[in-house]
Amino acid sequence: MTSAALAERPNGLGKLTAPVTFAGAAWAIADAEARKLARDPTELISRAVQPALWLLVFGEVFTRLHAIPTGSLSYIAFMTPGVLAQSVLFSSIFYGIAIIWERDLGIVHKLLVSPAPRAALVTGKALAASIRGLVQGLIVALLAVMLGVPLRLDPRALLGTVVVVVLGSAVFSTFSLTIACLVKTRERFMGIGQVLTMPLFFASNAIYPIAVMPPWLRAIAWMNPLTYLVDALRTLMIAGGQSSTGLPIDFAVLIGTSVLLVIVAARLLPGIVR
């Protein structure tokens, strides 16, 4: 029956009941975000400060120390993908607080009242997060070139890096959306966001290899999606970078986690406005 009741509306409902495509809705949300970022890139610039500090200060000092065994790679080359993964993590985690903010502004209501599938709304936010992630990637790559890190520049490696950054952004932005839908207020989210991001970063292979970790931390690191993000980036970005798991496993974990989190966040999203 569905729209039978409206069949006699004069302005031709046929075209209005055209299905909202998943991709169309997701793309529209990401596009709006891109336009806003292009109009006001202040945030992108200020977000470049943190990876710069990690690479220029922490990286340079630890490279001279030779304190961390990184095999054939120099320490700075080893940590470059870790710093990029960290930037992706930190800029994606911001999406949870953004959705709470947009809820308070009534923007989320407007999205949820539309017939667009909820999973498309979440995917749109994940794509929006990837835009930030890719900008971070560009900044980290430029810094790396300045520091003499040997980057892989063949097209397959570049394309692979872009895909991995998009997937990593999707994983952590949807994770952040899920948390936001559960805690619902800005204050609680701020506390939890802090508690989550630092452990995710330190319990990963971002700035030291898993091999040097105590066994309990190693177990946690292997459950941490950030580890797989770093591993894939290390393989694809750095000339001579070695994967410890193999790229297929990295991709499987990142794709699987993002699909799962899109589904979970889509289920939870309507609860944020109740």
Binding site: M1, T2, S3, A4, A5, L6, A7, E8, R9, P10, N11, K15, L16, T17, A18, P19, V20, T21, G24, A25, W27, A28, I29, D31, A32, R35, K36, R39, D40, D104, L105, G106, I107, H109, K110, L111, L112, V113, S114, P115, A116, P270, V273, R274
Partner: protein, 299 residues
């Protein structure tokens, strides 16, 4: 609406009967005569939050093509009712139909046929008016080749064509409101639902928004349901009003008929005072914070 017969019920007995009669055909099966006369219908609609009964067996009928005002003190259940009608909150009991579709079972279809303007300022300040409308057009599945024409039409109707490519954060409060109405009507919805559409607007902007709502109704034969605290607005704009207290319909009818029940010189304010209940005074902290913020941004 029999047990709680109020004076207004009596006044409206005839029109009510007609609505009942026209909707007797059950809305199932494509062959059934569609109940076009009623755009919004709730039956025994109830919503509880723990021990609190926010909406209590509400029976609402909104005639297709009319402008209906939902009045009532803060915390009376207006916003909860709206959230149920726009499919953002499931009812605890009872049913609600919008444009002949059940808000729970056919939620997705309902969303195709409604437009909603939040009490908050929901247009994105970082985008231009055109970009805000483009986002809505995509979310409502308007085909690519029609989007431009639809957006231009919406901008023209809401008298925003000149400001289309300005960032919304430079708009006045009244312009933002008109843009939001344009966004909510870009898909020509059968029903437009607005939560306190003129809150925080100056009198001139308020009148402009009223005119846009009348325009939206004329253009698309759209049914409009709005909540308001503003009795002047209810009187000037609404064909019918319903007064909600404690989650129930305390009185309903045309503004004129309701005023008649109090006395020949009564205003809607008097009606509000007569049927309203001071115990309803409330509204959650978040609602009030949101409203204040809206007022501030419009300020």
């Amino acid at each position: 609406m029999t047990a709680r017969a109020s004076p207004a019920d009596h006044q409206l007995a005839t029109s009510d009967n007609r609505i009942e009669a026209s909707s007797a055909a059950p809305g199932t099966g494509a062959s059934a005569v569609p109940p076009m006369e009623v755009a919004i219908r709730t039956s025994g609609l109830t919503r509880r939050f723990g021990d609190l009964v926010a909406v209590d067996r509400l029976d609402l009928r909104v005639r297709a093509g009319s402008i209906y005002g939902l009045l009532g003190p803060n915390g009376a259940g207006k916003s909860t009712t709206i959230k149920i009608l726009i499919t953002l909150l499931p009812p605890s009991e009872g049913t609600a139909e919008v444009a002949g579709l059940d808000v729970v079972r056919e939620a997705r279809a309902v969303r195709h046929h409604i437009g909603y303007v939040s009490q908050l300022l929901s247009a994105d300040g970082g985008l231009t008016g055109y970009e805000n409308l483009m986002l809505s057009a995509c979310l409502y599945g308007i085909p690519r080749r029609e989007r431009r024409a639809r957006i231009d039409e919406a901008l023209a109707t809401m008298e925003l064509s000149d400001a289309a490519h300005r960032v919304v954060s430079t708009y006045s409060g009244g312009m933002v409101r008109r843009l939001e109405i344009a966004q909510a009507t870009i898909h020509h919805p059968a029903v437009l639902i607005l939560d306190e559409p003129t809150i925080g607007l100056d009198p001139i902007a308020r009148r402009a928004v009223w005119e846009q709502m009348r325009q939206a109704r004329r253009a698309g034969k759209t049914t409009i349901l709005l909540t308001t605290h503003d009795m002047e607005e209810a009187d000037a704009l609404c064909d019918e009003v319903g007064l909600i207290t404690h989650g129930r319909l305390a009185a309903h009818g045309t503004p004129a008929a309701l005023k008649q029940t109090i006395g020949p010189t009564a205003s809607l304010d008097d009606v509000f005072t007569r049927y309203g209940d001071p115990r309803d005074e409330g509204g959650s902290y978040r609602d009030i914070r949101g409203t204040r913020r809206t007022a501030e941004r419009l300020g």
